[in-house]
Amino acid sequence: MASQTEVLENNVPPSYRDKILKWNGWGYNDSYFKVNSDGHVTFTGDKYDISGKVMPHLRPWFEANLGVDLGYETKSQTIDAFVIPPPVDNDEIYDMLKERGISFSNSPRIRLMRAHGHTVHDMINLRHGKIPRIPDLVVWPKSEKDVVSILEAAQSAHCAIIPIGGGTSVSSALAVPELEKRCVISMDMALMDRIIWIDRNNLTCRAQAGIIGQKLERELNAKGFTCGHEPDSIEFSTLGGWISTRASGMKKNKYGNIEDLLVHLNFVSTKGTIQRQCQVPRISAGPDILQVILGSEGTLGVITEATIKIFPLPQVKKYGSFVFPTFERGVEFFREIAKLRIQPASLRLVDNEQFIMGQALKTEDNSWWHSLKSSLSKMYITKWKGFSVDQMCAVTCVYEGQNDEVDEQERRLNELAEKFQGVAGGEENGKYGYRLTFAIAYLRDLGMNYGVLGESFETSVPWDKVLTLCNNVKQLIRREAKKLGVQYPVLASCRVTQVYDTGACVYFYFGFNSRGLTNGLEIYDKIETAARDEIIACGGSISHHHGVGKLRKQWMLSTHGAVSIGLLKAIKSEIDPANVFANANLIDIIGSPHSKL
């Protein structure tokens, strides 16, 4: 780490982010995949159910599907070797913050931890390069009053602010615009992590925006409630982050997406605080300002508190699974479910590639795939039912509710699956299906040790286009990778991960071995851009729940049209004329340093 002349700090809180999270990868310091002395992959730590277990099929899977060679390593640089640029000087702000009793620090490592999200670019920069521009100062507000106070100080000292929640962004939303000359303050919401109240009559809960998903859920559960919002990043992402990116949860079929769950919020801007005077289920009072704040990605101000719906804990939570002969049949099954509106809490259809990938994560003692290979169940599926191993795919689901409600749901789903040649695959397999979700980010880190570049991206698409979109995008990824000189097998896989009345959310995994390429990251970019263009040409959207950030800005104009973009700009210039919230997400603002004009 580069030396920095003077570290200025005030009352720095001990933060999980600085203590137990990796600086150059996903998740907890102690949790990662590694290859043990037998050449098998294991998972370290004690935080997950696979911790300490051996996954004998994972290394062969990596070798076969990504051409990984354990002899070829691409290890990360150490934190000491990482070069961190010195902060932009601004004496005034330090004094003002101290005066106001706000915790702050400009220590290099603390700044670095808040300088990025988790795009493949972020990871490669951390592991092998540097981050061109990072925040100059980190502050920790403890209350809405602190937020207001920091905002005043920042305006007066001519500073910019970038709020940060969980830091799990995959859209470059947290990146500091390279051309930003002002002192950039990273506003870490980590200390605003309390539940303020729970209203048992109305089944609502007021919480500070910095509360992390798992903490919110844990505390609600303890009181017999759930918020029902379960994005894949729930371990790290925050309530405020969910709102400002329009997050979507796995169980949205039962509980709704964040915009359905949100009842009320407080929003601090440079012009003052936005706060509706009532907490009602619905209102007809002109355009809904909540909808402007939802998805604003930190460009307009800071969410400080929010009221969301809560639900009594369900009597039963149960997994389920089905196997289908082809992806096509699975999609037809989903279409019918949506038509009949009988979707259980969560419903996912993984393609053949992901089905096999999931099987590779089976632990030694409990390898369904392994036993399937020789067992009757495989015989049944492949011989009796005639499924082909390289075509079949799986549906996993989660049922939540009262006993009889879940039974009924299960019965109807089983019945319907049969119509589409689906075979019930049992609860255990359903559970395993969801394991990939949390493991995937850790898996990427493993892959990166061996030259693999990987990413996930998602889209929202009308029903009639689901199948062609999935096929086309996967085919395109392989084609582009080959065209651009990728020499090893390419992973292109998708799942239909949410169903709606009019369409679905499709989630892609994409990865390739960059070994032998001098410009792997550039090639990665080209493929991802081509894939997004194809998604759009096939009727998909630029995002379903990951947001826009800076990564997908290039498609904003064609998505919304010039008038709508003008409207967004007008909102921005009304509420934040000095561009204090300078993360430059969503749109470019004329006059700001990152504007092309």
């Binding site: 062609t468 084609r479 759009i536 064609s558």
Partner: protein, 655 residues
């Protein structure tokens, strides 16, 4: 234009492969392994395809609309839809192909001395065909085309194409069924406003594509070229074929232009008759059997050149914006014009890959020989006229027509040379008219090309480029040299004069057609269809010819260039097209009101054209004076007596 050389290993004689395999029987009974398709879609059985087409949303919607429009029972329309599908669909099965293939291979073995295929291209296509829908787009001069493509696909393990054929083939007893069972599907020559038919047809074609059941083959020229050179492409089918790509239903579509070149064509005489206006014989099996005498002839060699596969995705990249179709499913004007451009581009590729054998060259030389020379001993056959045709083409001088048949047959072969040097020929033609300024040459080039846009198929928007390229080639060939903006001939070998002869007849022909059509107003008004207009022009030409045979070449009687000229005049709004409906049918009692406008247009624009031609100082022949009063350009009897050009030589002195 750079020529191709037919060399091993690029070209392989398929007949010798056939022999190596141990003859037709062994060859056709070999085990075949067509490639597995990518994606979940295995090739479907024809019944499954038909069923899926019928059940498709598009067809079901069209049926619904028909029911409302006709106010009838749904079953009725459904029955009709099934009937259309049955009539349209192929019944492909590999066993039929093997059976039919045996006979065909045996016949081909006798007809041809060699069937040359550029083999490396096939290997690339094989690789692509598993991943993407592949469309073969051959140039089309004979029935032989689709037989050969299928056999070659069979040879190289490529899924045999579903071939878009005209419905008239389906009517052939027995043979129609054989074609159907080998994978041909049949389309009406015109759909009119039959939406149900259109829905079924486009769904049928697109299902093949999206599912990648089979490769597809169709002829962008819409039918066989009778004149030995490319026909202006048709846009309907190519549009239907590309639609799935534009709407994001498939990632890519691979178009493979195929150049088919023959030393001799089976239908050579048939075409000559047809071009003179004698109706095309119905496609019947007995006609095919009669064609058995062709078996005793030697048709020389043929060359099948598969061009570089064109990825629709790469081709349209940056030209069109597909996400538009997320809101509106209909194709935009821009897309349509890009597709048209692509159609022309494919014809250009077909031509660029053509093999020019010695026969067309010979025909070309032969043509320019002045047969009137006393010591010239070759005689052209005078072909029987009435015997060969059931219906008389009334009003045409039998004698003259008989002379024209052979002439046209030879001319058709000579034509196949044109694409190789058409652009240079235009420049040569302009230079012979003493146009030397660079910009004037270019202007003249564009003008001539626009008049002959149906004779010389160029890619819209590429004309200026072609001019530059042609100039460059002529400079490189030491035909011309340039100082400043002036261009001058070097031309020791009189190449300019030879090239010029390729274009001059077309220009003169064009003006003669204008002339023939600018006569009697009343008569013109009675020409209800293009075909009537064509025979009218033919009659007028014969009158001219009878007046003075030196005025025009008998090849001018060929209906194809006449049709092209008329079409060009219609495009330029010089002539007006009679819309057959409404009203339909036309009342025969009531004479059509004279079309004052039509003639006025004609006169007016004729003046324009003529003025432009004169401005370019193109001497159609040195002493031809264009009389503006009468608009008659052929009234000078001395017109063509001295020129060596084909147009003006007294070449048809058939004894």
């Amino acid at each position: 234009m750079p020529n191709r050389e037919v060399l091993y290993p690029q070209y392989v004689d398929w007949l010798s492969k056939l022999d190596d395999a141990g003859g037709p029987l062994k060859w056709i009974t070999k085990q075949k392994h067509f490639p597995e398709h990518s994606g979940p879609n295995a090739a479907r059985y024809w019944k499954q395809i038909n069923e899926a087409v019928f059940r498709s949303e598009r067809v079901q919607l069209a049926i619904e609309e028909e029911v409302i429009r006709r106010k009838c029972q749904r079953v009725e329309v459904e029955k009709e839809a099934h009937a259309i599908l049955d009539k349209m669909g192929h019944k492909y099965s590999i066993w039929n192909v093997k059976g039919f293939g045996y006979v065909v291979t045996k016949v081909l073995r006798r007809l041809f001395r060699g069937i040359y295929v550029n083999e490396p291209a096939m290997k690339e296509i094989l690789k692509l065909s598993g991943q993407y829908p592949v469309i073969f787009m051959p140039s089309h001069k004979t029935y032989m085309d689709f037989i050969l493509i299928s056999l070659i696909c069979y040879e190289y393990d490529i899924e045999l194409p579903a071939i878009a054929a005209g419905e008239d083939f389906a009517k052939m007893a027995f043979m129609g069924e054989v074609l159907r069972r080998s994978g041909a599907f049949f389309m009406r020559r015109s759909f009119g406003k039959d939406y149900l038919y259109w829905a079924i047809f486009s769904e049928y074609v697109q299902q093949h594509l999206v599912h990648n059941d089979r490769t597809i083959e169709f002829f962008v020229e819409g039918g066989r070229s009778r004149t030995g050179k490319s026909v202006s492409p048709k846009y309907g089918l190519i549009q239907a074929v590309l639609e799935p790509f534009l709407k994001g239903d498939v990632l890519d579509i691979i178009l493979v232009p195929v150049a088919m070149n023959y030393d001799k064509i089976l239908e050579e005489m048939l075409y000559a008759y047809e071009l003179l206006g004698f109706p095309k014989p119905k496609e019947t099996t007995s006609a095919l059997l009669k064609a058995r005498n062709v078996l005793n002839r030697d048709y020389g060699k043929c060359f099948v050149t598969f061009g570089k596969p064109i990825s629709a995705r790469d081709y349209f990249n940056g030209r069109i914006y597909r996400p538009l179709h997320n809101l509106d499913k209909t194709l935009t004007m821009e897309e349509k014009s890009e597709i048209r451009r692509l159609a022309h581009f494919i014809v250009k590729e077909q031509n660029a890959n053509s093999i020019l054998t010695v026969w067309p060259l010979a025909c070309n030389l032969f043509e320019s020989i002045d047969l009137s020379e006393v010591d010239f001993t070759i005689k052209l056959l005078k072909m029987p006229i009435d015997k060969e045709t059931g219906r008389k083409n009334e009003g045409l001088n039998k004698e003259v027509m008989g002379l024209a048949v052979t002439r046209i047959a030879i001319d058709n072969y000579a034509n196949s040379m044109l694409p190789f040097c058409a652009y240079e020929a235009i420049i040569a033609f302009l230079m012979s008219s003493r146009i030397v300024k660079n910009d004037e040459l270019e202007k003249g080039f564009l003008f001539v090309l626009s008049l002959l846009n149906r004779e010389i198929i160029s890619v819209p928007g590429e004309e200026k480029n072609e001019f530059q390229k042609a100039m460059h080639r002529m400079r490189a060939a030491n035909m011309i040299s340039g100082k400043g903006d002036e261009v001058s001939k070097i031309d020791e070998w009189a190449w300019i004069a030879k090239l010029e002869r390729l274009i001059r007849p077309y220009m003169k022909h064009f003006l003669i057609v204008i002339n023939c059509l600018s006569g009697d107003n009343e008569k013109l008004a009675k020409l209800e269809s293009t075909s009537k207009a064509i025979s009218y022009v033919q009659q007028q030409m014969i009158l001219l010819y009878e007046k003075d045979y030196s005025l025009l070449d008998l090849t001018y009687l060929s209906s194809d260039p006449i049709k092209n000229a008329i079409q060009t005049l219609i495009d330029r709004k010089i002539l007006k097209n009679y819309q057959p409906h409404p009203p339909h049918p036309p009342q025969p009692q009531q004479p059509h009101p004279p079309h004052p406008q039509q003639h006025a247009y004609l006169q007016q624009v004729q003046q324009q054209v003529l003025q432009q031609v004169q401005h370019l100082k193109i001497p159609l022949s040195e002493k031809t004076e264009i009389s503006r009063q009468t608009g008659n350009i052929c009234n000078s009897s001395r017109a063509c007596s001295n020129s060596s050009s084909r147009v003006c030589s007294n070449s048809i002195h058939i004894l």
